[in-house]
């Protein structure tokens, strides 16, 4: 009797093991696609360039991201990613309510310039109620107020060699061998000069809170959340972003996310 139970149990166990082995094995076998920098992966990633080019072709000059009514703001902007940067430079600025904050515009510009928060606030501003789409899948509608980036770019005048803007930030989401890896992002000049691209200092009618990127967060409304860098201290005009981080154009891009971020 016990022999029969045992063999049946063994049989069941064997069956279950085979089944799970089959399914797990089948899926693990495709895990190599996660290997950053592999040939297959680079091949698959080429589709992201196609997406970028096709969307840029389809976008009329200045095609706007949808804007929403006040009544569609039903909750606060959900903070995520870094919400409380701890770098000493940032903490010092925060303690003084960002009185000493300056946003530096550097790199391939005719004249480098920096702006205090008060100066940014005294420039032309744009307020827009837009939808923030996180790469994870969720969305949140909020009202953003800030200085159009194009106004700043007109003042510093980009050199003809400039092709991208790189945004340098105070926050970090990861530690590297030589200390915290600072968040950074980049965009092309089409997004940089887009009318809805603003250096946001206001959120839902209030001063931009620390959790959402104080004092200045860039809004690039036709792209996903990771393309909206928070805690920005320097905007650098460059001809290539290959020398920053791992060379992919942003913190999350260096982790394997697509640079365009419009899908």
């Amino acid at each position: 009797m016990s022999g029969i139970t045992l063999s049946r149990r063994r049989l069941l166990g064997l069956g279950a093991a085979t089944l799970s082995g089959l399914t797990l094995g089948g899926c693990d076998r495709l895990d190599f696609l996660g290997e950053r920098g592999s040939d297959v992966r680079s091949y698959l990633e080429a589709a992201n360039d196609v997406t970028y080019r096709v969307q840029r072709l389809l976008m009329r000059e200045g095609a706007l991201a949808p804007e929403y009514a006040e009544t569609e703001i039903r909750q606060g902007q959900r903070p995520n990613g870094s919400t409380d940067p701890q770098s000493p430079a940032y903490l010092a600025l925060r303690d003084n309510h960002f009185e000493d904050y300056r946003l530096a515009i550097t790199g391939l510009v005719e004249r480098e310039k920096s702006y205090s928060l008060a100066e940014l606030r005294n420039m032309p501003s744009r307020t827009q109620i837009t939808r923030h789409d996180c790469v994870e899948g969720w969305s949140c509608i909020a009202k953003w107020t800030g200085t159009p980036l194009s106004v700043v770019l007109d003042e510093v005048k980009l050199k003809p060699a400039a092709r991208y803007l790189v945004f340098h930030c105070f926050d970090s989401l990861d530690e590297g061998p030589s200390g915290p890896i600072r968040y950074y992002e980049s965009c092309d000049l089409i997004d940089a000069r887009h009318p809805q691209t603003i250096l946001a200092y206001g959120l839902n009618g209030q001063t931009l809170p620390v959790a959402n990127g104080a004092p200045v967060r860039v809004r690039i409304e036709r792209a996903l959340g990771y393309k909206q860098p928070k805690y920005v201290h320097t905007i650098e005009a460059v001809d290539s972003f290959s020398r920053f981080g791992l060379g992919k154009g942003g913190f999350w891009e260096d982790q394997g996310y697509d640079w365009y971020g419009g899908v």
């Binding site: 899926c27 696609l33 992966r41 589709a47 706007l64 569609e72 909750q75 939808r131 899948g137 969720w138």
Partner: protein
């Protein structure tokens, strides 16, 4: 004479050339594309395993229609909530993996590529195969329009529709007629997948792209918001999976060898037509 009939066994109809090379090639490429799209799509879903109705996701209020998460009920349990009703789905949705260290995740490792949580790779795979899916659809559409396949084989005729009740009854009894063309249920289901479901998947996919929402703002209006589009995309996925299951069952029930042969070599053996002598091969 008798001997020959015995040799031929069951009365067999003639072999006919049923599927064109276009149908066969696009059929199998779709099968591969959809396999990768499904498993990478579930990987993407797992990054935020909840679906909502409207433009945004409610965090301060509740507009979720589906949610997979883990709850503590004398130990961790997987829970799936659909339209406010919760189900214990431990081991499948919400919480799965080895019993000694289960993981909090929407769909289990066996259903995602990669098997571990990796949104970036899921996106790379999904968008690569999404382009291939669209390209294959366009190739099929052009070939189908030019060759007349769509008009001839897929658009149901008045006679087809008149036969609908009879056809449903025959399918319910698993009695299949192997004719030259598709029966009306086949026409309707293949037509629904090719002209409704797959385009719907592409369009709801595009509606989730903030870039495409600037290019074609009507996408959001048609689907009632980005988060609704995401939910419809998910619903479309479940309908495609359902179609796949029924499709496989029908192939098995209708004669897998014959059905598979027609989709590989194009040759299909139809039922002997009444009044015709059986084809005899010696």
């Amino acid at each position: 004479m008798n001997e020959i009939i015995v040799k031929a066994g069951r009365q067999q109809g003639p072999l006919i050339r049923r599927q064109s090379i276009w149908t066969r090639v696009t059929h199998w490429t779709w099968a591969i594309w959809l396999f990768f799209l499904l498993l990478s799509g579930l990987q993407i879903f797992n990054a935020h395993p909840a679906l909502y109705i409207g433009q945004e996701s409610g965090f301060a209020y509740d507009n979720a229609v589906l949610r997979m998460d883990a709850v503590d009920r004398h130990g961790p349990r997987g829970q799936t909530t659909i339209f406010g009703r919760s189900f214990d789905t431990t081991g499948l949705f919400g919480l799965s993996g080895p019993a000694d260290h289960p993981r909090v995740r929407g769909f289990p490792a066996a259903l995602t590529i990669p098997s571990y949580q990796d949104l970036a790779t899921g996106r790379v795979i999904h968008f690569f195969f999404a382009w291939l899916l669209v390209a294959t659809l366009l190739v099929w559409l052009c070939a189908g329009l030019i060759s007349g396949h769509i008009r001839r084989d897929l658009v149901p005729t008045g006679r087809d529709l008149a036969h609908l009740p009879r056809d449903v009854a025959a399918h319910a009894r698993l009695r299949f007629h192997h004719g030259r063309g598709y029966n009306v249920l086949q026409k309707l289901s293949y037509g629904a997948v090719l002209f409704v479901l797959l385009p719907l998947m592409v369009l709801t996919g595009l509606a989730m792209s903030p870039g495409m929402d600037a290019v074609w703002p009507w996408l959001l209006e048609v689907f009632g918001g980005r988060q609704t589009a995401r939910s419809i995309h998910f619903l479309g996925m479940t309908l495609l999976v359902l179609f796949f299951i029924v499709h496989i069952l029908m192939v098995l029930a209708a004669g897998p060898i014959n059905e598979l042969r027609s989709m590989i070599s194009g040759w299909y053996r139809i039922d002997p037509e009444p009044g015709l002598k059986p084809e005899i091969k010696s």
